[in-house]
Symmetry: C2
Subunit: 215 residues, 2 copies
């Protein structure tokens, strides 16, 4: 009985790793779509979001079945409830990549990102990638030592968002209100993506250690 | 055994009703804080958010304990997992009211909302109130006939958000980029608040009927 149980947990774990990889690729592509006004990339992100949503539904159902059949208590049950939260966060990360891709598509064939904002947006994309790569390492290898580095990346993302506001609000901003709105929404999407990535790392650390990391 | 179980479910249900009422009051106050540049209201929202967060942690823990002790399967288990999702949505609604209140505080003693946007923001506040009142009726009396009306209110919120964009992007907008950014974020916060309210209603309908409403 315990073997089937652990096989099921391993399978769910593999699904979580797959979801993490998919949302990493999604935001990476969304950033390229934005910076290079690449419509094909934007559309690839939107198509992949459907796969991410399906995977989440599937993982939640499998987690539900394990709880229902194995009736775990204590830590085992907490791990499974954490998995449910974690897949919700990953699904949301996919949605946010999709939102970024939609802004790229909306402004196509222009780039949604004016020249003077390219640097900040490109850095936000890099922080997103670096952050989610670390989260994937936590989820996959369960290298929980990365937790601190993940929180630090989240702080970098917040700093970049403030930088983006400063830029848009500077008297030199000549790109008008529409571009300012795009930058505001993009800043928000990248920030929320990072928040959910941190939440995924925290849930995983709880799954491994049984202890909630400090906020 | 079943009696204790149903008492526990009733208690959790009461907690969900309390959370729903708190997030309704929170957004209502946040809207007043915005429109009347009322700092005390803004700070009341922020203080209440801590109570909402505590209530959520408490409800999730109690739900966890019920699953752990009673080992429900099938529909009973689905109901409890839905409750976990639903309290997460309610907590997020509290956060979004908090974000609105923070914009009010940031611009105090000015109102964050320029004259020409008062109408739309005030309508967004009304739709939020009307929506969450219906959600509270679903959660409390379990009047699932309100489901359609709730979806319609969500559509109204989306329409108001588009109206806000049109206003900010019109050549007549004379309030500059900062106010445009505030309106963009406010629009996003009200929209997300409505999305989560709809999710709460959907989870409750699932709890009552055992069937997922159509999206």
């Amino acid at each position: 009985m315990r073997d089937v149980y652990h096989d099921e947990l391993d399978d769910i774990g593999k699904g979580v790793i797959e979801m993490t990889n998919l949302v990493a690729i999604a935001m990476d592509r969304a950033t390229s779509a934005l910076l290079d006004a690449n419509l094909a990339q934007a559309e690839a992100v939107m198509a992949a979001d459907k796969r991410i949503d399906t995977l989440r539904t599937d993982l939640e159902e499998r987690t539900f079945q394990v709880i229902s059949r194995q009736q775990p208590v204590a830590t085992d049950l907490r791990v499974l409830i954490s998995t449910i939260h974690l897949t919700a966060d990953l699904e949301r990360m996919g949605d946010l990549a999709d939102h970024v891709a939609k802004i790229a598509r909306l402004r196509f064939p222009e780039s949604a990102v004016p020249e003077e904002a390219r640097d900040v947006i490109s850095q936000m994309g890099e922080v997103a990638r670096s952050l989610v790569t670390k989260v994937a390492d936590v989820v996959d290898g369960r290298d929980i030592a990365l937790a601190q580095a993940i929180e630090a990346e989240d702080d970098s993302m917040d700093a970049l968002r403030r930088k983006l506001f400063t830029l848009v609000l500077s008297p030199n901003w000549s790109r008008g209100t529409e571009a300012a709105i795009d930058m505001t929404l993009l800043g928000r999407y990248y920030e929320r993506y990072a928040d959910h990535a941190v939440a995924v790392a925290r849930h995983t650390i709880f799954i491994v250690t049984g202890r909630r990391p400090e906020h």
